[in-house]
């Protein structure tokens, strides 16, 4: 009960903060909220199952591009709904063709998916519509975007918390531990994975859709930037992808570091990030939260 009240207070604080900060700080907060939402949505599927999805930006970019295409012909809520539906349909297609097979097929397929979607959209725009690049004219302030993104963060983390306590979460954990055992205990493998993957991918698509008005001008090269996929995975892993708050714990410091690096070392930051990624895989394979738990456990052990 106390934790719930505390959580609601923190949320209320996050809701009113943008009324008192500068434009630049608000931009940073939108970025943080975006990556917390992305990493949490990513971990919703990949955290427990150990199926590494490298397609974050394929869905994120699809969401953003959908808004760019539809923003002048439909009202905003309908545009967001369309983006969500397109993301879900794409996730179902990818999931149905790869998730019934061994996990490696899924990884490989998602690895190239962003590049595929980018090339297809580029081809379509160049040869069919004849225009590459679109403008987004929406009557939204930075605060509106921040509040919408915050709502997505709450939905992502809330949904993860709910799934963790439901039969679906139990099934996902069983699949992550041992797929053969899970199948023998009667868990419908393909359906379970498909549901979780579609939920996760739809959320990621919505994040892209909500974030898109910040760009104003959108073209495939901008919205399908592979760094987004990369950052999402490293953030979730750093915090601990199988913990509820892990993606949040990883996303905030890494986003700030990323901002700092891209301002001060614009040419070399991919190298730093790559090295950091490798370091996380080697040093903190289960994330910061698990690392702290281990440390606490060993301290207790040495006392008694």
């Amino acid at each position: 009960m106390i934790r719930l009240v505390f959580g609601l207070l923190a949320l209320a604080l996050l809701v009113i903060v943008p009324l008192f900060v500068s434009e630049y700080e608000l931009g940073l907060m939108i970025g943080m909220a975006t990556y917390v939402a992305l990493a949490s949505a990513w971990a919703l599927f990949s955290g427990h199952t150990n199926y590494i999805s490298l397609a974050t930006v394929a869905f994120y970019g699809t969401g953003a591009y959908t808004v760019a295409v539809l923003n002048e012909s439909l009202p905003y809520p309908a545009v967001i709904l369309c983006a969500g539906l397109i993301g879900a349909a794409m996730a179902l297609l990818v999931g149905l063709s790869t998730l019934r097979l061994s996990g490696i097929y899924f990884v490989i397929f998602t690895f190239g998916l962003a590049e595929l979607v980018r090339q297809l959209i580029t081809w379509y725009e160049v040869t069919i519509t004849g225009t590459l690049g679109r403008y987004i004219f929406l009557d939204l302030t930075a605060r509106d975007i921040y509040w919408q993104m915050l709502a997505l963060v709450v939905v992502s983390i809330g949904l993860t918390a709910w799934i963790n306590r439901s039969r679906l979460g139990l099934a996902l954990r069983a699949i992550g531990d041992d797929e053969v055992v899970a199948a023998h205990s009667g868990i419908p493998l393909a359906r379970t994975k498909l549901i979780a993957f579609t939920l996760s991918a739809t959320l990621i698509t919505l994040v892209g859709a909500v974030a898109s008005p910040r760009w104003v001008y959108v073209e495939p090269l901008i919205v399908f930037n592979p760094t987004v996929s990369f950052l999402t995975v490293i953030m979730a892993l750093l915090g601990g992808a199988n913990r509820l708050w892990g993606p949040l714990v990883g996303a905030i410091p890494l986003f700030l570091l990323f901002e700092w690096l891209s301002v001060n070392f614009p040419d070399t930051y991919p190298i730093f990030l790559g090295l950091m990624f490798i370091a996380v895989v080697f040093v903190l394979p289960n994330g910061i939260i698990a690392g702290l738990d281990n440390l606490r456990a060993s301290l207790k052990g040495s006392k008694s």
């Binding site: 150990n50 490298l54 490989i108 190239g112 895989v281 080697f282």
Partner: protein, 290 residues
């Protein structure tokens, strides 16, 4: 027109087949799913261009340097980066796969970053022996033919090595049953390192031959990795003959799509094939059902 597609497709397929052979060695023997494979290929391509432009070294001579250099780099990479992961994953099935995917995903960005800093993001190409040669009535640039010959020589010597030599036998033994190989006195760690290094060498030779006839940029690595991965899966994981056949098939399909429809759709065609194979024969076109 059909003849043009056939000849150009086979020439392109030669490079793809060689790249896929290297990847299937790394995955089959060392059990490392290397997502940075395309970046290694590109690095070799950049080195060839650099040697050609600054030192005036003939591409044929540089390939003789790049191949062994790739082997050494692969060997080093395995010892420093992959070996600790292999050790950590002992007795935990599936752990190495996840760890190697994540670690090489990080490596991808490191190598890409290094290439962007050293060579920039522009498209690069060299003009080397680009006069046309008549092949079955089709005019093919001489550099493409040389690249094809290099891939053919490298690929066939690898096939012979695996099939006929004692070293090949040992490599195949580790690929087949890494658990039983130590029983006959095989040092699995050493052989895994050799398999990984051999794969890196093939990636380097493939990349160097790509640089002889194609325009490329530091951002193309993902596409190379993707194509090599798809060929490996089409041919059946660890299946050398399958990888060769699938490599040529992909080269043909791509050239066909590029000439008949649009060059912008080649990756879509690759993915379409991948989807069909996944749905119809997930064990690969030439693989056996396990």
């Amino acid at each position: 027109m059909a003849m043009t597609t056939l000849v150009l497709g086979l020439v392109l397929g030669g490079t793809y087949a060689l790249l896929a052979l290297g990847l299937t060695l790394q995955y089959g023997i060392a059990r490392i799913m290397n997502l940075a494979y395309g970046e290694v290929t590109l690095l070799a391509a950049f080195v060839l261009v650099f040697l050609f432009q600054s030192a005036g070294l003939s591409p044929l001579a540089s390939i003789l340097l790049i191949g062994p250099a790739g082997y050494l780099m692969g060997s080093l990479l395995y010892s420093v980066m992959m070996r600790p992961l292999v050790k950590r994953a002992e007795g935990k099935p599936g752990k190495l796969e996840v760890d190697s995917i994540l670690a090489t995903f990080g490596l991808l960005f490191v190598l890409q970053g290094v290439m962007l800093v050293l060579f920039g993001a522009n498209f690069t190409s060299i003009s080397y022996l680009d006069q046309g040669v008549d092949v079955f009535g089709v005019s093919v640039a001489l550099n493409r033919l040389i690249a094809f010959a290099i891939c053919l020589v490298a690929g066939l010597s690898l096939v012979m090595l695996l099939a006929r030599s004692r070293w090949g036998l040992i490599l195949r033994a580790v690929a087949l049953t890494p658990g039983s190989a130590p029983l006959v006195g095989i040092d699995v760690n050493k052989v895994s390192r050799q398999g990984f290094a051999l794969g890196t060498a093939l990636a380097s030779i493939g990349g160097a031959s790509v640089a002889m006839y194609q325009t490329f940029s530091a951002n193309d690595g993902v596409v190379f990795t993707m194509k090599a991965l798809i060929i490996v899966i089409m041919g059946g994981v660890g299946n050398v003959a399958g990888a060769l056949a699938a490599g040529f098939a992909l080269g043909l399909v791509e050239t066909f799509v590029a000439t008949m429809f649009d060059p912008g759709l080649t990756l879509a065609a690759t993915f379409a094939i991948f989807l069909i194979v996944l749905i119809w024969r997930p064990q690969g076109l030439f693989g056996r059902r396990s």
